[in-house]
């Protein structure tokens, strides 16, 4: 029995090694092998960023923490459904975080309350909750805020941190779909120059 499992494992390893040899894939591989240390690494490196997403959708602290936990549990259970061909691990995790947070708000009927806040209120909220990044090398939030214009940042944040679809934004703020997309594109391009990507 032992040798059979070893064989299966080795086969598994080789199959993944066929794809890009990046450290991310190594991490994914170890997660698939249910390597606890890999999950710890994942948590240490990404929990704060994911919490940033979750807590902006679910403002209540304790509830947000619950969602973060659920998020990592879901990542742990569902790692085999991550498809590296489609994109990066973080994009996949962020999506899980966002969706869990949105589900939470729906279950507690937060939705109408949250979306009724006008864009001005939202940016005020942002200032109150700002905390410095745990990674000192990361670009400062202030630098980003100064780099993007208000429209661009609002649109990006509504989508990325609140989970609005482009259709929802277009409808609610009375902006044509094309404008939404192009503003986001412009904003993202600015971000990329700030980040040197």
């Amino acid at each position: 029995m032992e040798t059979q499992l070893d064989f299966i494992l080795n086969f598994n390893i080789k199959a993944i090694q066929k794809t890009q040899e990046t450290s991310e894939n190594e991490l994914v591989l170890r997660l698939m092998q249910k390597d606890r240390k890999a999950l710890e690494y994942l948590y240490d490196h990404y929990s704060a960023a994911l919490f940033g997403i979750i807590s902006r959708i679910v403002p209540a602290e304790e509830m947000a923490q619950e969602v973060l936990q659920d998020c990592f549990l879901k990542i742990w259970e569902n790692i085999k459904s991550f498809d590296p061909i489609k994109g990066k691990l973080f994009t996949w995790m962020a999506k899980i975080a966002r969706n869990l947070a949105i589900d939470k708000t729906r279950s507690r009927d937060f939705k109408s309350q949250l979306k009724s806040e006008s864009p001005e209120d939202y940016s005020l909220m942002e200032k109150n909750h700002y905390e410095p990044s745990i990674n000192s090398e990361a670009i400062d939030l202030k630098e980003i805020v100064s780099g993007l214009n208000q429209d661009q940042k609002q649109l990006i944040d509504l989508m990325y941190f609140r989970g609005y679809t482009q259709a929802e934004i277009s409808k609610e703020f009375d902006i044509p779909l094309g404008t939404v997309k192009s503003k986001v594109r412009l904003g993202m391009n600015k971000l990329r120059s700030i980040f040197n990507i």
């Binding site: 029995m1 032992e2 059979q4 499992l5 299966i8 086969f11 598994n12 199959a15 993944i16 066929k18 698939m32 249910k34 606890r36 948590y43 929990s47 704060a48 960023a49 919490f51 940033g52 997403i53 902006r56 923490q65 973060l68 936990q69 990592f72 549990l73 085999k80 498809d83 061909i85 994109g87 990066k88 973080f90 994009t91 962020a94 999506k95 966002r98 909750h129 905390e131 990044s133 745990i134 990674n135 990361a138 670009i139 939030l141 989508m159 990325y160 941190f161 989970g163 609005y164 679809t165 482009q166 939404v180 997309k181 192009s182 986001v184 594109r185 993202m188 971000l191 990329r192 980040f195």
Partner: protein, 268 residues
């Protein structure tokens, strides 16, 4: 160039942020699979979105981590894992239960391996598809070529069968007595076909030229190559004889009679 428009539309940004419908997402994934520049752009957007998220990170209390991992450890203890299976195999518990646990573990592992294996296979299949498409293209090109050759051969055969076709044998002259050629001339249509049996390779920068001779006047019938194919020459209305001279590459308006290689008269 079509991808430029696609990329600058902003749809990729929306994809990364998760604001597209499932159907729109599939579209993006298809584009990324098809065009490497789309995939590349997507990667870059993902990277910067990650940085953006990191910049907006918020501290998490330690308690969350400890709660999480006690849950994880609890799960791993109760649900089947490899370590559990190893222990049981050596232990004293009932054989039946062991076997079931081992079997379910194997099944779970196999399922996850299958999915991993499948997406690595998908990459291999995509590469193969690319190679097949290329081979297909090359095949289509060679088919066209073969088709053209077939058409020429058909023309030649119909010419041979034709009653109005004249066969003129060209014999080698002093310069190259071994030379031999045949001209097939269809008097009705004027089509001329040349079959070179033997002719020395022309020197660099020179080419052989066929002439039709009518009433002593040379008429240009075109230049030709010395490979063995039947070649179609220029149309000739009336002729008494045919001759071949060696000229400068591209031919000349009147023949160089010092370089006369082949000659043949029509039977009258």
């Amino acid at each position: 160039m079509k991808t430029e428009e696609y990329i600058s539309s902003g749809v990729l940004e929306l994809y990364v942020m998760g604001s597209l419908s499932p159907r729109e997402e599939v579209e993006v994934e298809e584009m990324a699979a098809k065009y490497p520049e789309v995939k590349e752009e997507l990667s870059k957007i993902e990277e910067s979105m990650e940085q953006y998220a990191v910049a907006h990170a918020r501290k998490v209390p330690q308690t969350v981590k400890s709660n999480l991992f006690s849950k994880i450890d609890g799960k791993e203890k109760t649900s089947p894992t490899m370590s559990v299976v190893k222990n049981d195999v050596e232990g004293n518990s009932g054989f039946g239960a062991n076997w079931l646990v081992a079997a379910s573990v194997t099944l779970a592992l196999l399922t996850s391996i299958a999915s991993v294996y499948l997406w690595s296979q998908l990459q291999a299949v995509e590469r193969e598809l690319g190679a097949i498409k290329l081979a297909n293209q090359q095949l289509a090109e060679s088919f066209d070529q073969t088709n053209n050759e077939l058409q020429s051969t058909k023309n030649y055969l119909s010419l041979l069968k034709n009653n109005s076709t004249q066969f003129i044998q060209l014999k080698g002259l002093e310069i190259a007595p071994e030379s031999e050629a045949i001209v097939y001339w269809d008097k009705a249509s004027g089509d001329v076909f040349l079959n070179i049996r033997q002719l020395p390779l022309p020197p660099q920068g020179m080419q052989y030229q066929l002439w039709a001779l009518k009433d002593g006047q040379p008429i240009d019938a075109g230049v030709f190559e010395t490979n063995s194919e039947i070649q179609k020459m220029k149309k000739i209305e009336g002729s008494d004889a045919f001759a071949v001279t060696l000229e400068k590459a591209g031919g000349s308006p009147s023949p160089n009679l010092e370089a006369l290689y082949l000659m043949g008269k029509l039977e009258s």
